[in-house]
């Protein structure tokens, strides 16, 4: 009963956040100083054709309507897959095709780096909790702390220079679709994924370690040990699972950091994902396209957060009860 109510409350929250987020992105174009039409079609000749073109665009963007009407029209277009156009002198170019190309690339990058981060962070976190206070633990912690102070663009440029240019092991930029050449695809994704994963490794490792240190002091661990179960088994089978819940939540909530990071990393390594599309849209002042990309990222982020939060509420009985009580 409490759970259903809790989930209902959460769902209402989700609707509210989605509304406000899309309101912000939908009205982004209205915030452009001056006349948005002049910005989108920067043609300074006043021939009748250009004037007609501008008028048509004004109509298409519903700029003459009131704000609520404009928002409603935007939402209607958005859910029907009409994401507006790039407005070029050569004609209108639908954003939809670009989005369909860019989104999977960004998702690939994020998934690769998330998997990489967890693969590295989990063993490191477990071992440093097991060896808490030892040299290994201190070294791992210090490294993690230092890693957190390296902005992803600095790490990315450093890797591109040393591994890409100096050592020449991996191509420093570019993208090849998996379907075209799987090996080349992986080779080109290694540096961006490592760049994006590094900070996450530090966060996850420190988190898992502090959780594990506490778990290892629990009675059931003592119990397992006194039964003569090997250290390895106690660590990986008994202690890791109760310690991993926070880690998984944070891994889910970190999608926001990952999205922001991916934007930068894509630009650095010339990967044609959403980040590159956003940078391109800003450079060309294609605000309609920018609006769409920002909306997609924000909605993605909100939905993932919601899913993680709900999952967490359902999975962990402690949270479930604590929240129901409040």
């Amino acid at each position: 009963m409490g759970l259903v109510r809790e989930l209902g409350k959460r769902f209402l929250g989700l609707i509210l956040v989605l509304f406000l987020v899309t309101l912000f992105t939908a009205l982004l174009i209205s915030m452009v100083p001056g006349d948005p039409v002049d910005t989108l079609l920067p043609v300074s000749d006043s021939s009748p054709e250009v004037a007609a073109q501008k008028e048509e665009l004004r109509h298409e963007l519903n700029l003459d309507d009131s704000l609520p009407e404009r928002y409603a029209a935007w939402v209607n277009d958005f859910v029907h897959g009409d994401f507006g156009n790039y407005y070029r002198t050569s004609g209108a170019d639908p954003v939809r095709a670009h989005l369909a190309d860019a989104l999977p690339v960004s998702l690939q990058l994020m998934i690769y780096s998330q998997i990489l981060a967890l693969l590295v962070a989990i063993p490191l976190g477990v071992i440093s909790a097991y060896r808490a206070g030892t040299l290994f633990d201190k070294a791992a912690n210090t490294t993690a702390f230092a890693l957190l102070a390296v902005p992803n663009f600095v790490l990315g440029l450093a890797l591109a220079y040393y591994v890409g240019v100096w050592l020449g092991w991996l191509p420093p930029s570019g993208y090849v679709p998996f379907g075209d050449d799987a090996v080349e695809h992986i080779r080109r994704m290694i540096l961006p994924a490592v760049t994006l994963a590094a900070a996450q490794v530090a966060v996850y490792m420190r988190l898992l370690r502090s959780d594990m240190v506490q778990t290892l002091q629990e009675d059931f661990i003592q119990m397992a040990r006194s039964k003569g179960i090997s250290d390895q088994r106690v660590l990986w089978r008994h202690a890791l699972r109760p310690s991993s819940l926070t880690l998984l939540t944070v891994a889910g909530l970190n999608v926001g950091t990952l999205i922001g990071g991916a934007v930068i990393v894509e630009v650095l390594f010339s990967i044609p994902g959403l980040g590159t599309s956003i940078a391109q849209a800003i450079f060309e002042r294609q605000y309609v396209a920018l609006q769409t990309f920002v909306a997609v990222l924000a909605i993605l982020y909100v939905l993932v957060n919601f899913a993680v939060d709900v999952l967490y509420t359902v999975v962990d009985p402690r949270i479930r009860h604590a929240r129901a009580r409040n």
């Binding site: 808490a132 702390f145 102070a149 600095v154 926001g256 999205i259 940078a279 605000y287």
Partner: protein, 305 residues
């Protein structure tokens, strides 16, 4: 070996108490803490004094040092892609980057701190509304939010003045820090408003404003302080990220735009990117470390009560 015999366990405990491990390295300032203060203090001083220091003009081109590595006669850190003095640029860049990040966090602190304090102290509907506001702001990825604000209000353009770009950049980064600072202030204010001395002040007839400022705020300050330090670090990195994406200040040197400009010379002259990158790294590391120290001390204070 996980289970030690009693003797060895006493000599070398396998598992320290959790809180001891967590806070022990950061509770004291230590050598590293002093280094951090020294670095940040020195940097601030250099940034403030940049106009009166005997530095080269950061925009002057010296043809003999184009892409030259550090340690040139007269140009200690070498030159950038168009032959401008790197030492002078990195110091003027510090001035820009620190102005942007510190102003953004101060602005965020003022707005977020105030809202959080009010929310945590008054609770009820106001609290619910403000918490929702914070959550909404937090639900747009920070970089994407500030990026779209700066792109819309001050896209790099000749017609947009440098002052306007700076203002927009600061405001955009402040909006990102508001919910973070607001939430932490709220949580802390909520806990402190429960304490006996707050109730006592209420009974004595002190006004809400007075209680918030005189009783709650001083206790909440350390928590805000530690997050604000981290916030400055985040803002410095954000400025760099925005510069790489082609928005932000362009007329004056900033660490971010130095890196953005140096990218094209990465293979030929890596020092152009490396020098501002190292400056960012050291500054962020120092801020993170001091933030942790403040936080550790704050927890100790709370635990001791």
């Amino acid at each position: 070996m996980l289970v030690h015999e009693t003797e060895t366990a006493a000599a070398e405990p396998a598992v320290l108490p959790a809180e001891e491990i967590e806070t022990a390295p950061t509770r004291r300032l230590g050598v590293f803490g002093w280094f951090s203060i020294l670095w940040l203090g020195g940097l601030t001083l250099l940034a403030l004094l940049a106009p009166i220091l005997p530095l080269k003009d950061p925009d002057q081109t010296y043809l003999e040092i184009v892409r030259k590595p550090p340690i040139q006669p007269d140009h200690f850190l070498g030159g950038d892609g168009s032959g401008r003095d790197m030492l002078s640029r990195v110091i003027w860049g510090a001035r820009t980057s620190l102005t942007i990040s510190v102003s953004a966090v101060l602005l965020g602190l003022l707005v977020g701190g105030l809202l959080g304090l009010v929310a945590g102290y008054h609770r009820g509907k106001l609290d619910a509304a403000l918490t929702t506001l914070f959550n909404v702001l937090l639900s747009i990825p920070a970089l994407v939010l500030s990026l779209s604000l700066v792109a819309v209000f001050a896209n790099s353009d000749e017609s947009v003045s440098n002052g306007r770009k700076l203002t927009v950049l600061i405001a955009a980064l402040a909006i990102v820090t508001v919910p973070i600072l607001g939430r932490i202030t709220r949580a802390s204010a909520l806990a402190w408003s429960e304490r006996e001395f707050v109730k006592a002040a209420e009974v004595l007839g002190a006004s809400h404003g007075r209680i918030m400022l005189r009783e709650v705020l001083p206790n909440v300050a350390p928590a805000i302080m530690s997050i604000a330090l981290l916030g400055v670090a985040v803002a410095i990195v954000a400025e760099g990220s925005l510069a790489l994406l082609g928005v932000g200040v362009t007329e004056v040197a900033s660490w971010g735009n130095m890196i953005a400009l140096g990218r094209s010379d990465l293979a030929r002259a890596p020092h152009i990117v490396a020098i501002p990158s190292i400056a960012i790294f050291c500054t962020v590391l120092a801020l993170n470390y001091l933030g942790d120290v403040v936080r550790a001390r704050f927890d100790v204070r709370e635990a001791a009560l």
